[in-house]
């Protein structure tokens, strides 16, 4: 570990270089992180208040709980309530409100809802309870999807006919492309955060701080299409304030130098190629499929579907579930928050009707959501 004194000096150097680069750009720039862990780390460390005044860091659709569409959440709650079903989910999803309540409320009403730590825990439950239909809510980005693939293969190996998966996985790069296809480099003059409502085109960003743990799986090179198709620089960064500051400073330099490239500043955990075994397993079980995101709507190839050999494990087909798109909770601006179009404090319900104890939207439910991060760490900063 670096000594604190050294770190403080290093941080001061990074900030100085960053300010100089920002001054040379001579216009406001905005970067987007697409990782819930970055969202929390930035707020907890006070990074927003250290940045050059012309630089804005937006939180994009990086919290898997927050981007899960309202229709998918309604589908989970509906399925959890069916008789004979044991519904397994990661803990973060439990309190997200659907139109007929949350999974937690379904459990209070008698549904068999279990929090699992690992997808394999759900397979174990299915093996131990052959008379019950065990459904696993497969939510998350590429960090989590390989685990779902392993669980499905394990269920197949054990010949379990009472295990299935409600797939709501998301792929981050297609979402980044969808966001940036409306954003041209340099298109952020005037600052994006004042943009108000409107479409994707109004989210002007100049580059992405790429998600470190997704990148462990997909590799730094997975972000190349964002550079090639949209001309936006991408920097993979770790989660320490210094690492994030270095990443953002580097992005500012790349904008200044008009040099859109992918750079990996988190080589401690991220390689160029990613985790080959995880990618292989994911590819054996899943194929790219369209997916519906909260705030972004349907995006081609941004989700995962089960390959033909694994269709038997599709819970939606097994239980005749047809998730429909449903409106977000009345007054909740999670969609705008996810897209960086408004700040959590711009929502009339923030801190009043909506708090982490009584959340209204997923951004306040999730420990990685922008509203909860702002509520915990951001009050008074802006």
């Amino acid at each position: 570990m670096l000594p604190q004194q050294f770190k403080r000096e290093h941080m001061a150097q990074v900030l100085e270089g960053w300010r100089a680069a920002a001054a040379q750009v001579a216009r406001p720039v905005a970067f987007m992180e697409v990782c819930g862990t970055h969202t929390v780390a930035a707020w907890r460390s006070g990074l927003h208040s250290l940045m050059p005044v012309t630089v804005t860091l937006l939180s994009g659709p990086g919290c898997p709980v927050c981007v899960t569409s309202q229709g998918d959440i309604d589908g989970m709650v509906e399925l959890a309530g069916r008789s004979g079903v044991t519904f397994c989910s990661y803990g973060d999803m439990l309190r997200v409100p659907g139109k007929k309540g949350s999974l937690e409320q379904a459990r209070s009403a008698g549904a068999d809802v279990r929090v699992v730590y690992s997808a394999l825990d759900a397979v174990g439950l299915a093996a131990r309870q052959p008379r019950r239909q065990v459904v696993f809510a497969a939510v998350g980005f590429e960090t989590t999807a390989p685990a779902s693939a392993v669980a499905i293969q394990e269920a197949q190996r054990q010949g379990l006919t009472n295990f299935s998966v409600l797939v709501s996985h998301k792929r981050i790069v297609p979402a980044m492309l969808a966001i940036s296809s409306g954003a041209s480099p340099g298109g952020s003059s005037g600052g994006p955060s004042g943009g108000g409502g409107g479409g994707l085109a109004q989210v002007g960003i100049d580059g992405f701080l790429c998600p470190g743990h997704v990148a462990v799986i997909v590799g730094a090179k997975a972000f190349a299409p964002v550079v090639e198709e949209c001309g936006l620089p991408c920097v993979v960064a770790g989660f320490e304030p210094l690492q994030m500051a270095q990443g953002l400073a580097r992005l500012t330099e790349l904008v200044r130098d008009k040099s859109p490239v992918v750079e990996n500043l988190y080589p401690q955990a991220v390689t160029e190629e990613g985790n080959a075994r995880a990618l292989e397993l994911m590819d054996e079980v899943f194929c790219p499929a369209p997916a519906r995101w909260r705030a972004l709507g349907a995006i081609a190839d941004s989700g995962l579907g089960l390959r033909r050999e694994y269709q038997d494990f599709d819970a939606a087909a097994r239980f005749g579930l047809h998730p429909e798109e449903a409106p977000e909770p009345v007054g909740c601006r999670c969609g705008d928050v996810i897209m960086g179009r408004c700040r959590p404090v711009d929502c009339a319900m923030f801190g009043g009707a909506c708090t982490p104890v009584h959340p209204i939207g997923p951004c306040m439910v999730s420990s990685e959501g922008s509203c909860q991060a702002w509520f915990k760490y951001g009050e008074g900063l802006h």
Binding site: H213, Q268, R277, E368
Partner: protein
């Protein structure tokens, strides 16, 4: 949900499983995504799976980045949820 946490591998078990020490708590994880995992090394654990092997020198920095003190300097702690 994308949070991954460093843990030290205590021992390997059958069927692609390993027991890791996660901030003082003992946890059984799956090594199917990193089959070369060895006992005694540090790994990144996410949702019950090893997703990456780590060099020891990198661990303290990652811990610190996650806002926790380095467990090797504390010798006690509670299980951290990786979701």
């Amino acid at each position: 949900m994308c949070l991954a946490i460093p843990a030290k591998v205590v021992r390997l078990e059958d069927e692609g499983l390993a027991v890791v020490d996660l901030h003082g708590a003992s946890l059984r994880v799956c090594t199917a995504l990193a089959p070369e995992t060895e006992a005694g090394e540090w790994v990144l654990v996410h949702a019950g799976f090893v997703i990456q092997r780590l060099a020891e020198a990198e661990v303290a920095e990652i811990w610190e980045a996650l806002g926790q003190s380095d467990p090797s300097e504390r010798g006690e702690g509670s299980a951290a949820a990786a979701n």
